[in-house]
Symmetry: C2
Subunit: 471 residues, 2 copies
């Protein structure tokens, strides 16, 4: 039955691609209020599309009190498979990262441009491409078969790129509506390409922003230079205390709760062939990081503290002889299984406070907590279904991978709704998500339109009871 659906999707390929390009043209940058029109446009586009595909109960999901930056989610369901079939929550997100630095794009970020078999645009890879594949697969089952192999609830988030601030409130307000046996995510996974891969987890995240002040006002560097603290010197000294020369985090208590690396984990990380030299060549960079671990381990099984932005003083054209009184930094921390987000965040904050000398005032701006790392249990039916599909389509046992990034919803849905999840997105790691010239391969787009019908069919063969066991 999935073959007919896949054929239907292939026959509709150009129309589906046009719809993806139309969705990309809506600049849905969730972090910047200036893009509210793009957010609204993307929501309206998706509501209309879900209705056109005959999904039921199509609507926006909101919480009574949305926090600052909160964005409604788009929802739609088809529950006609019956009570013995599992109910699968299908997850995607319609928001995208900011596009700056704009000057580095070779074509406008919100005008998708197809070159060399790739769609170049902000959000093409992360994650409008895979989200479109998931939506259209469900629609094709309904159009061709009059129904899906499983019950389906589509949940399309609008604040993934800002850390899902209102998601817990939104789930709390719609607990019954969102109940499901498991979640299948269009974000993350790396299901495309010749190498069969099964993504079984992701790192967690927490963040911290702070300002540093050394005097009540900026001053003339000629008048005060040599006797007044310079906020930029102090910021540099402070940031430099976070890592050693290999980039290892040296923050006391940061890894509390995380068990030491095991041979089993190292063997798991080694199931995927990985060319470290080629990886560094991709960035035109030299090898870096904790020499005790492989690159794959460093980027998936080790935690990080990263400064994403840092600034202060005069940054305009020309020069200005100022001794700056304030400086700013934005940090994010990637977490591994066992780390408590609030604890890791508190450890970094305490480190900064401990290392700031008298005369240097720190002011923090942060939401306590964050998202834990996630691992899908080895005996879960989602893993069995995906393994079967990949084994059959690509041959051999899929390599086990983890995402170095974070899909907050994975952890949140598990903690709040007891729902495990599998990432089965089609994006590849080299597609410059979060950077200029993001792209999505058309070959991955086409592969997604083949793999998603197979996976829903495989899940439909499983009894709902299999999703209920503990573990």
């Amino acid at each position: 039955m999935s073959e007919q659906v896949a054929r239907h999707l292939a026959s509709q390929r150009e129309a589906i691609l046009d719809r993806l390009l139309a969705l990309i043209r809506l600049p849905s940058v969730s972090t910047d209020p200036a893009f509210e029109h793009g957010m609204r446009g993307a929501r309206e586009f998706l509501l209309e599309r879900l209705r056109a595909l005959s999904l039921q109960d199509v609507r926006l999901l909101d919480a009574p009190e949305m926090p600052r930056g909160g964005q409604p989610a788009v929802y739609g369901a088809w529950l006609g498979a019956g009570p013995d079939k599992p109910t699968i929550m299908i997850y995607g997100h319609y928001d995208v990262q900011p596009a700056d630095p704009m000057e580095l794009w070779h074509s406008p970020p919100f005008e998708p441009t197809i070159r060399d078999g790739r769609i170049y645009a902000r959000g093409a890879s992360d994650v409008k491409g895979s989200t479109t594949i998931a939506i259209e697969t469900v629609g094709a089952f309904l159009a061709v078969e009059g129904g899906c192999p499983v019950n389906v609830k589509l949940f399309l988030e609008g604040e993934e790129e800002v850390g899902s601030p209102s998601l817990p409130a939104l789930i709390e307000a719609n607990r019954e509506l969102l109940a499901a046996d498991a979640m299948l995510s269009a974000d993350g996974g790396g299901a495309s390409g010749p190498q069969a891969m099964l993504n079984i987890g992701c790192r967690g995240i927490t963040s911290l922003r702070f300002s540093l002040r050394t005097a009540k006002k900026d001053a003339h560097s000629g008048k005060v230079g040599g006797a007044l603290r310079n906020a930029l010197h102090e910021m540099a000294r402070l940031i430099a205390t976070l890592h050693d020369e290999h980039g290892r985090v040296v923050v006391e208590g940061f890894e509390a709760g995380a068990p030491p690396m095991t041979n089993a984990l190292r063997a798991e990380a080694a199931t995927l062939p990985f060319d470290e030299a080629a990886w560094y060549a991709l960035y035109d960079a030299t090898p870096f990081g904790d020499p005790a671990y492989t690159v794959r381990e460093r980027t998936t099984l080790r935690p990080t503290v990263e400064v994403n932005g840092m600034w202060g003083g005069y940054t305009g054209e020309g020069g200005k002889t100022v001794t700056p009184a304030e400086a700013h930094a934005k940090l994010t921390m990637r977490l591994i299984p066992g780390q408590d987000p609030e604890g890791a965040q508190a450890a970094v904050k305490a480190h900064l406070e401990r290392h700031a000398p008298a005369g240097v005032a720190l002011e923090f701006d942060y939401t306590p907590g964050g998202t834990r790392a996630y691992t899908l249990g080895s005996d879960h039916p989602l893993r069995a279904a995906a393994t079967a599909v990949l084994r059959r389509e690509k041959g051999g046992e899929p390599a086990l991978t983890r995402l170095g990034g974070t899909v907050p919803i994975t952890t949140i849905f598990q903690e709040m709704l007891g729902m495990d999840s599998l990432m089965f997105g089609l994006s590849s790691a080299d597609e410059d998500a979060h950077a200029p010239n993001e792209f999505f391969r058309l070959s991955s787009f086409d592969e997604g339109l083949r793999l998603w019908p197979l996976l829903l069919t495989e899940l439909g063969r499983m009894d709902r009871a299999a999703f209920r066991r503990e573990g």
Copy 2:
């Protein structure tokens, strides 16, 4: 004869003040091409005023090839005192610092506002106030006496705040026109207030900007975090190597050529009472700097390396999980007598190159060289004339001070035209030059209109030959 001139200036006080406010309203920010209209406006205003005051040969001075950022100077002369009287070059500048951060100003920077006996505006203290006093004094002599006690050449620069890039070319092209026996500067000096002070020098300056690169492009911090160098971490580590924890510069070879501190210099620095606690309280800051020196020594007799601006990564609203590939910094170095600007600059550049690890590429953007520190010889007639005026008007021996900042023209005129100079400006150190809410005291404005006629009269009593001796 100076008393009549001072009385005339006092009677014209309101009209002179109005002209100062009109000059301030012209936003002559030389560092930013967006303010070209303000630069042009200020030049036209001054040309018109010098002509109205009956100066001769009033015109703009230009060089055949002005470098990037070059601005013409305003010139006017009166040479009727005769060949036995000294010819004094009077220096001021019509350009100002940028006004940002705009949001910290309590009244608009280019709309002068008088509050509590102070003119609040960008350029009020640095240095349109003192420049106006100098111009109007010359005009009053011509109006009241029909001539000045000395021959006068007014030279009003337009690029002091950007380091005078085209001044050498401009002097070269107008060598004969600019010949004089000495220079009297309206910039620097601290001649106002109850404490008699004589400024006998200033620190020099050189600058260096650089960008740091760790990869060819920004990347998703989830994908690469832990295995790719973060340009902001590297920038922080690099900047942190420039100073020790007391803010002492630890750059090898930076002080080459500067003789060690002497007891005579320390005694000179101590001639002015200085309340260190009050100084730090002014900035709401805690004591800082090399504990082997007093604050006055640190800010005038010791060199500095200062980061004036530093930035990289995502600095907009919200967050962005990026591992930045590039970071930027703007540095200036304050120099003491003996330091060679090009050598000091090269030492800092070599230090940065030596401390950048493999995999971190630096790209420098700078003009080689800079301005040497300046000291007015102890037996110079400028010093004698100013000492006589201050001794008589304020009582007692004037304290000897040095400017921690830089008046590039002082060194340039000495090196190119063999002309010594005295800074006799009316600004005070606490007037927030180069910072938000810059102001100029009306009491200093009035004092300048009394002191400048006295000083020109005193110089007119000296024989031209006294300016010609060596030393």
